[in-house]
């Protein structure tokens, strides 16, 4: 997906304007005319200037009838598009349920789902998912002592 530079410019202006608006209530340093708001405001102003230039440049050089948003060829293939969104969806799922379910079940599900979508043969997928989950779990939780969530397996681990 690629939006044209004018749309990028508008999004950047909205972003910078929000930043400036949020700095409105920041207090100044005692006895000075500036404070924590100064630096973000300078940056936001810079972003707005760049955004305006981007929009201006776009209209200088754009060919008439150009599209607002163009899509790369892979977005028309459901399998590729699915792989892209499956990755993002699995990350969201991990964030929301890993604490309850625990690392091992969610990692297994995560890897299996991706492997199968990406056409890894089922047997290879299951074996690799199990081995990778165990290796990563052992590496981080035993060797590096990262408290990976235990979840359902709390009583066993």
């Amino acid at each position: 997906m690629r939006a044209n530079d004018a749309i990028c410019g508008i999004i950047l202006i909205l972003f910078a304007a929000t930043m400036i608006a949020l700095t409105a209530h920041f207090p100044d340093f005692p006895g000075q005319k500036y404070g924590p708001a100064l630096f973000p405001r300078v940056l936001s102003t810079g972003i707005i200037i760049c955004a305006v230039l981007l929009i201006w440049k776009h209209y200088r050089t754009a060919s008439p009838g150009g599209r607002w948003v163009t899509f790369a060829p892979w977005t028309r293939e459901p399998w590729r598009l699915g792989a892209f969104f499956l990755m993002l969806a699995l990350l969201f799922l991990y964030i929301f349920i890993s604490e309850t379910v625990g690392f091992i079940p969610i990692a297994l599900l995560f890897l299996l789902a991706l492997f199968l979508w990406l056409n890894v043969r089922p047997v290879t997928a299951v074996i690799t998912a199990v081995v990778a989950t165990i290796v990563i779990h052992e590496f981080f939780s035993s060797l590096l002592r990262v408290p990976l969530p235990r979840g359902w397996l709390d009583s066993i681990l």
Partner: protein
């Protein structure tokens, strides 16, 4: 001298040497896999190094990156796909050599000159870093403000194809960095009441997101498009390398020197060093017509340059805390986490760490010879590792790595958010490196700017009062002037036809 002995003692321990060897193997693998870069290797290593002492942590990063930059040459020669962007400059040339049946010689030259170039990089790092540190010890907030600004300026000047997008990316990185407690007054900014945002956007998850997740998102949609490996047997790769050295030793010296200089410039790293030295090699070659037909000359320049750039990038990183490339940007984050704030004082207070970095660099480059040889011999097997298995495993590794930085899913949120932003930025032609530089240098820039403002009582002329500050300030202003002038002229050039 004591410091050197302490440094040797810190390195020559079984555990540290084991870490270095493991990182060497890891770096070779990541570098040789197309789509996985040296910067990504560093980002993936950081969650692991987080739990190590400073010396093995730095050793792991230095070794893995040195190996990865060389290993990128292997798929370039075998598949015509650069393993890392640093090999892109001479991928076509390498592949043309392979097709002529010179695969052995090509890989031998790449390996030997990578080692030699890397050693030149370290040598110059060892010579220049302490000298610069001595001068830097007298710097005040004014000098540091200008240095940080000059560093950011160089980043845009050097890298961006479209300077406007480069500047926007940089400003965006700086803006993201203002989230959290502000460095001058301790006031919480843009935290929306979240306790976790008080510490700001954690650097490492952000880095993993922008460099690893965005790359995986790009990779997964092309997962089945793996190139076919050349069916050539690999013999003795060292045959003929000495003849190449005798013929092209000047190219080697020139390439290495260019590499160090470009590596030391903030924002430009091994990939730019390779492009520029390859172009210079062609420009000054006696046989420029042979370039593109599988000619070794340009490869000597460029493969020396990309490895020497690695050492060069550490010069500003260690002396001023200003990263020379995206790898050292991550390293600076690691140094801060280890309580070793980079800057001239490290040279005084912890010289053993500086010497340890130097020694590891030498060691890593020497180890590159055996490890590189193994990687070349097993190149075909490495390149056959299916990407549909690799991508999910790396993704789960990124998730756990980000989690381990904050011990909460907040780290994963940051990785996901910054990963999607990084992907969108690349899709729209905004370079990622300036944003990362902004994220790293933002705090230093703001802190020194605010301190200087308070010292100067708000008078901007005060920023030019001290001699070195004045020179740095004028340099910065001049570079900006040139860029704006070029921008206006470029604008006119594109406008001319429409007006005619």
């Amino acid at each position: 001298m004591d410091a050197i002995i302490t440094a040797l003692g810190l390195i020559f321990q079984i555990k540290v040497l084991w870490v270095i060897c493991a990182s060497a193997a890891f770096g070779m693998f990541v570098g040789a896999m197309p789509g996985l870069t040296a910067t990504m290797a560093t980002a993936l290593l950081v969650p692991v190094t987080f739990f190590m002492d400073p010396v093995p942590a730095l050793g792991a990063i230095v070794t893995a990156t040195a190996m990865a930059i060389f290993a990128g040459d292997i798929p370039a020669a075998m598949l015509r796909i650069p393993g890392t962007p640093a090999s892109a400059a001479y991928t076509d040339e390498s592949y043309a050599m392979s097709k002529k049946g010179l695969l052995d010689l090509n890989l031998g030259v790449n390996l030997v000159f990578s080692v030699l170039g890397g050693l030149v990089g370290v040598a110059l790092l060892i010579v220049f870093a302490p000298v610069l540190a001595e001068a830097a010890i007298q710097f005040s907030s004014f000098e540091y403000f200008w240095l940080a600004l000059l560093g950011l300026t160089c980043a845009i000047f050097m890298t961006a194809e479209d300077p406007l997008k480069g500047i926007t990316s940089l400003l965006f990185g700086l803006a993201i960095n203002t989230v959290g407690i502000d460095p001058a007054a301790g006031y919480p900014r843009f935290t929306f009441g979240s306790v976790e945002l008080l510490q700001g956007i954690s650097f490492i998850p952000a880095m993993i997101g922008m460099f690893a997740l965005s790359e995986l998102l790009r990779g997964v949609v092309a997962v089945d498009q793996q190139g076919a490996v050349l069916a050539q047997k690999i013999g003795n790769i060292f045959v003929g390398v000495w003849d190449v050295f005798k013929k092209y030793w000047k190219n080697f010296i020139r390439g290495s020197a260019i590499g160090v200089v470009i590596g030391a410039l903030p924002g430009a790293g091994a990939d730019i060093a390779a492009w520029i030295s390859f172009a210079i090699s062609k420009r000054f070659s006696k046989e420029p017509e042979k370039f593109g037909t599988g000619h070794i000359e340009g490869i000597v320049d460029a493969t020396s340059a990309n490895n020497s750039a690695l050492g060069g990038a550490w010069i500003p990183a260690l002396v001023f805390g200003i990263p020379g490339d995206s790898i050292t940007a991550i390293v600076i984050g690691v140094l801060y986490m280890k309580g070793m704030n980079p800057g001239p004082t490290v040279f005084l207070q912890n010289p053993q760490f500086i010497y340890a970095v130097f020694i590891i660099f030498v060691l890593a480059n020497l180890l590159m010879l055996p490890f590189g040889w193994i990687a070349i011999k097993s190149g075909k097997q490495i390149l056959r590792v299916p990407r549909n298995i690799l991508i999910p495993v790396i993704l789960i590794f990124c998730v756990v790595g980000s989690y381990s930085m904050t011990n909460s899913v907040f780290g994963i949120w940051i990785m996901l958010f910054m990963g999607v932003i990084g992907w969108l930025m690349e899709e729209h032609g905004f370079p990622i490196a300036p944003a990362i530089l902004g994220l790293v240098l933002g705090e230093m820039l703001e802190q020194n700017f605010m301190t200087s403002m308070i010292k100067a009582d708000g008078d901007p002329l005060f920023f030019f009062e001290r001699p070195i500050a004045a020179v740095l300030g004028i340099m910065t202003v001049l570079i900006w002037g040139t860029m704006i002038w070029r921008g206006i002229r470029g604008q006119k050039a594109t406008m001319a036809p429409t007006e005619a």
